[in-house]
């Protein structure tokens, strides 16, 4: 039972998060900050999520290629 649950969880983790969990973490954090800036500070922070996505991609690529070059 536990094994089935573990492999079910592992499948959905692979399906949604994929190889690099930090990309998912950056996207979620950027969305949270965007919501805070918009609703609390009154700043229309439309630029934050695209910039965070570009940064997350660059960071993930850097880590992947640095690992392979080592």
């Amino acid at each position: 039972m536990m094994r089935a649950l573990k492999s079910f969880g592992a499948f959905w983790y692979d399906f949604v998060i994929g190889d690099d969990w930090q990309v998912a973490a950056i996207v979620v954090a950027a969305l949270a900050v965007t919501a805070l800036l918009t609703h609390v500070a009154g700043v229309n922070a439309w630029w934050l999520l695209p910039l965070s996505a570009f940064a997350a991609l660059a960071w993930s690529l850097h880590r992947a290629t640095a690992r392979k070059s080592r």
Binding site: F11, D14, F15, V16, I17, G18, D19, D20, V23, A24, V27, V28, L31, A32, T34, A35, T38, H39, N44, A45, W46, L48, L49, P50, A53, F54, A56, L57, A58, S60, L61, A64, T65, K68, S69, R70
Partner: protein, 269 residues
């Protein structure tokens, strides 16, 4: 957004998944036997239909803002993972996904597996191979159809895009009876990654409360921007890799591209 870009986006995304499912189904059917393969496909389609029947109406109950926040986050994460792999492949850091060699691997495994009948299925291996292949690739199709269709309020157009993709790939597969090795898979995955990331970013930010300059027209800037940045990353990595390739050095950067990982075989990305 009109229906045509939505149909095209879903079509390309689903065609990539359908090509991968076709490779597995052909390997099972041609190497083992077609009856059990079709049973496996049918069982997977029933499970997928049940998932759509449960998820579709549940998701439409969510308020649009919450829906766009959740769907946007998922699409952006999903899209960035597609882009990451497509860029690594385009720059030579990861081996290109090759349907012909994927087919040969499946055929070799299918030939080696013993024949056993279970639960009314004459060849259990062919059944499970086809079931898993169609279910796993189909889940991505379902995910893309539901997220794009519901967020745009046009589930019908998304379903049309997916159905067209499956019909075109299945029809071509039946005609050639071979894996579709000439499909430019990495270019298609690159394009899908750009679209998923762009729409995910757009809807996610909207769900978080922002108003995009120009409203929907912002997508006309966002999509090319994501494409340009991604192509720029790929070009930069390719240059860096070539610069490290000194003949005979055997340096780390000159190493062969990494093969497909197990998670890639599972998710198909």
């Amino acid at each position: 957004m009109t229906a045509l870009p939505l149909i095209l986006t879903v079509f390309v995304a689903c065609a990539v998944e359908a090509v991968e499912a076709l490779t597995i189904v052909l390997a099972a059917g041609l190497t083992r036997e077609w009856r059990s393969t079709f049973q496996g496909m049918a069982a997977a389609l029933v499970v997928l239909a049940a998932i759509v029947a449960v998820l579709g109406p549940t998701i439409t109950l969510l308020p649009l803002t919450a829906l766009r926040l959740v769907v946007g986050a998922l699409l952006a994460i999903f899209g960035l993972q597609w882009l990451r792999k497509a860029i690594l492949r385009a720059s030579g850091y990861k081996a290109l996904h090759d349907e012909a060699s994927a087919y040969l691997r499946e055929v070799a495994a299918a030939k080696a597996a013993p024949v056993s009948s279970r639960r009314g299925v004459s060849d259990w291996y062919a059944f499970t191979l086809a079931f898993k292949g169609v279910l796993l690739e189909g889940l991505e199709v379902v995910f893309i159809v539901i997220t794009f269709g519901v967020s745009q309020g046009n589930l019908g157009a998304a379903v049309i895009g997916a159905a067209l993709a499956v019909a075109v790939v299945a029809g071509t597969g039946i005609a050639v009876r071979a894996p579709l090795a000439r499909v430019p898979e990495n270019a298609m995955k690159f394009a899908v990654g750009i679209m998923l990331t762009s729409f995910g970013t757009f809807w996610g930010a909207e769900g978080a409360g922002v108003t995009w300059p120009g409203n929907d027209a912002a997508l006309l800037v966002l999509i090319p921007a994501v494409a340009l940045v991604s192509l720029g990353y790929a070009a930069r990595l390719r240059r860096g890799r070539r610069a490290g390739e000194v003949p005979g050095s055997g340096g780390p950067a000159a190493a062969a591209p990494a093969p497909a990982t197990e998670s890639e075989e599972v998710t198909g990305r």
